[in-house]
């Protein structure tokens, strides 16, 4: 895994990624034929059922961070770290409770921006756009970087080539098929991810003697078993609130809420949360087995692939270890990159092009315009990912920013009146203090501080000079 020794040959790596790429693009073109108009392209005709709906939500939430970072959480924060990562699923479980209200409030809604415009006016909507663009771009770029790193680590494919390849594949099938293609491929990708993680987790269970493993960890890594490990305990609340902020505000989830059939959408989100919950635990469990199984981890960021590869080699599956890991991780990245590409492009078309600049796009020109935006976002991501900057830090720093949007979303959905100025002040104060906490106190406090400050401001805004919200409106009336 390090130096010049790779789990699979460069040729095998290229063949796997190109074959998977052809498969996703072909399926994207096939499913994309169903998108007859803009609503079909952006919201899959608002007719997505339970199985596809829950699979797409789960697969989107299984990002490169889940498969690569959950093992790092377990390795550095122990049992609490695994649970902390899993609490991100609570965001999906709670979003299920939002959906009926979202569909009532915005029966013809298209993006999360529609909600912020309706509830918080142009100023709140602009603030939302800045935060969500920062977050979405850093998420997209970090996954493109993770894809390039993965292909380099597993197959020795140069970073720039691997990163470009993964990005091109995702851009192509999103371009041809819109949300139909994204949801369809997500379904297959979610099955591959689940089977892969369960299979590797099963191998670890077979290989591991649990009493010896406990003894080893208690001797050499005692803090990992400690109930009162401060960073790990704080990570539970911090990660949970980061997850709430990510899910509650981002258009990836709102577009799915609009795309699913009204009666099944809450069930689909709830089911996806339940299905997602054990994935970080399984991925983290694999990492905890490293010490007891005598596996050296030379680079923290490669914890998952290194341990999975070593365990499969111990089980006599060394030859296919790299192939399986590459397929599972490629699927986890593609399933999130495509969703974010589609949702961010929708936001740029609906909120920036139409909402901000007032440029109306007729149905005949929509696909062409959407294509330009998707390619534009892809090119921007490539430009930001090419220098291999540590963008993952930008994603983590965005935790307090998205955390400070939690309460404004809740209040906007369920309350009848509010003091908008105070809420928007709370978002700014929460974001600023959360970023300060990130550097001054530690990453494991940032989202908590951001969400907490914004919560206090939002609660005060309910009682200090509140004004009635406008009722449910169609997007056309909101602009």
């Amino acid at each position: 895994m390090t130096g010049e020794v790779y789990a699979i040959s460069r040729g095998t790596g290229w063949v796997i990624v190109i074959l998977l790429g052809i498969l996703w693009v072909a399926l994207g073109i096939y499913w994309g034929r169903r998108a007859k108009n803009s609503e079909g392209f952006m919201l899959a005709g608002r007719n997505v059922g339970l199985s596809l709906g829950s699979a797409t939500a789960m697969a989107t939430w299984v990002t490169s961070n889940t498969t690569m970072l959950a093992p790092v959480f377990a390795l550095t924060l122990g049992v609490w770290g695994m649970l902390a990562y899993s609490t991100a699923s609570f965001g999906l479980l709670l979003f299920a409770l939002f959906v009926p209200r979202i569909r009532t409030l915005l029966p013809a809604g298209v993006t999360a921006g529609d909600f912020f415009r309706l509830r918080y006016g142009r100023c709140g909507w602009s603030l939302f756009l800045i935060i969500t663009m920062l977050y979405s771009l850093s998420w997209l770029v970090s996954m493109a970087i993770a894809g390039g790193d993965l292909l380099e680590a597993l197959a020795g494919i140069p970073y720039l080539q691997g990163m470009s390849l993964i990005l091109i594949v995702c851009i192509l099938y999103t371009l041809f098929g819109g949300l139909y293609a994204v949801i369809g491929t997500d379904f297959i990708q979610s099955l591959i991810i689940l089977v892969g993680i369960v299979f590797i987790g099963g191998l670890v269970i077979v290989k591991l003697d649990f009493s010896t493993a406990y003894e080893h960890i208690a001797t050499y890594q005692p803090s990992l078993l400690q109930i009162a490990m401060p960073a790990a305990l704080l990570a539970v609340f911090n990660n949970m609130l980061f997850g709430f902020g990510e899910v509650f505000h981002n258009n990836v989830w709102w577009s799915r809420a609009f795309a699913m059939r009204k009666e099944i959408a809450p069930k689909a989100f709830f089911l996806s949360g339940l299905l997602w919950f054990p994935i970080p635990i399984a991925a983290g469990f694999i990492a905890l087995a490293a010490g007891p199984l005598g596996i050296n981890i030379p680079d923290e960021n490669q914890t998952g692939p290194v341990v999975a590869s070593a365990v499969m080699s111990m089980s006599g599956l060394g030859a296919i270890a790299g192939v399986l890991i590459l397929i599972v991780l490629f699927c986890s990245m593609a399933s999130s990159i495509d969703s974010l590409l589609a949702a961010t492009s929708d936001l740029l078309i609906e909120d920036v092009q139409k909402g901000l600049f007032g440029v109306e796009i007729d149905e005949n020109r929509f696909r062409r315009s959407a294509g330009f935006v998707i390619i534009g976002v892809g090119v921007l991501v490539w430009i930001l990912a090419a220098p291999h900057w540590p963008i993952i830090n930008a994603l983590f720093i965005s935790g307090p920013l998205v955390g400070s949007l939690i309460w404004p979303v809740i209040a906007g959905l369920f309350w009848k009146k509010i003091n908008r100025t105070l809420v928007l002040g709370g978002i700014i104060a929460g974001s600023a203090l959360g970023v300060w906490a990130y550097f001054a106190l530690g990453w494991f406090t940032a989202s908590l501080i951001g969400a907490g400050v914004s919560m206090v401001a939002t609660i005060l805004a309910r009682f200090i000079s509140p004004k009635q919200f406008r009722g449910a409106e169609a997007p056309a009336q909101i602009h």
Partner: protein
């Protein structure tokens, strides 16, 4: 934390850990030809590390690592705040969703 050392010839090296500066009670944390190792879960306190070629007594200059946890008073304050924020958030969402369901039925 990640410990790194130079090993250009990829010789078999041993990474030792001890709680004593004299390495009177060493434990081998890694034996192999890699050039780095990630260590986690160390107990609070002072730990010493050294690396050397297997079978020889040529050890590197010891590295001292001091592990200190987040201050307990600040921890409990933040944990309490975290619990309040999370419980209020969940409670408000559940209450809002139930109210919406009631209104929809009515």
């Amino acid at each position: 934390m990640t410990l790194q050392w130079s090993n250009p010839e990829r010789k078999t090296v041993v990474l030792q850990q001890s709680t004593l500066a004299t390495f009177a009670d060493p434990v081998a944390r890694y034996t192999g030809s890699e050039k780095s190792s990630v260590l986690s879960g160390l107990a609070e306190g002072r730990h010493y590390f050294r690396v050397g070629e297997e079978g020889t007594s040529n050890w590197s200059v010891p590295l001292t690592v001091e592990v200190k946890f987040f201050p307990r008073d600040r921890l409990f304050l933040l944990l309490g705040s975290g619990a309040v924020v999370v419980l209020l958030t969940m409670g408000t969402i559940i209450a809002g969703a139930l109210r919406h369901r009631g209104e929809s039925r009515a």
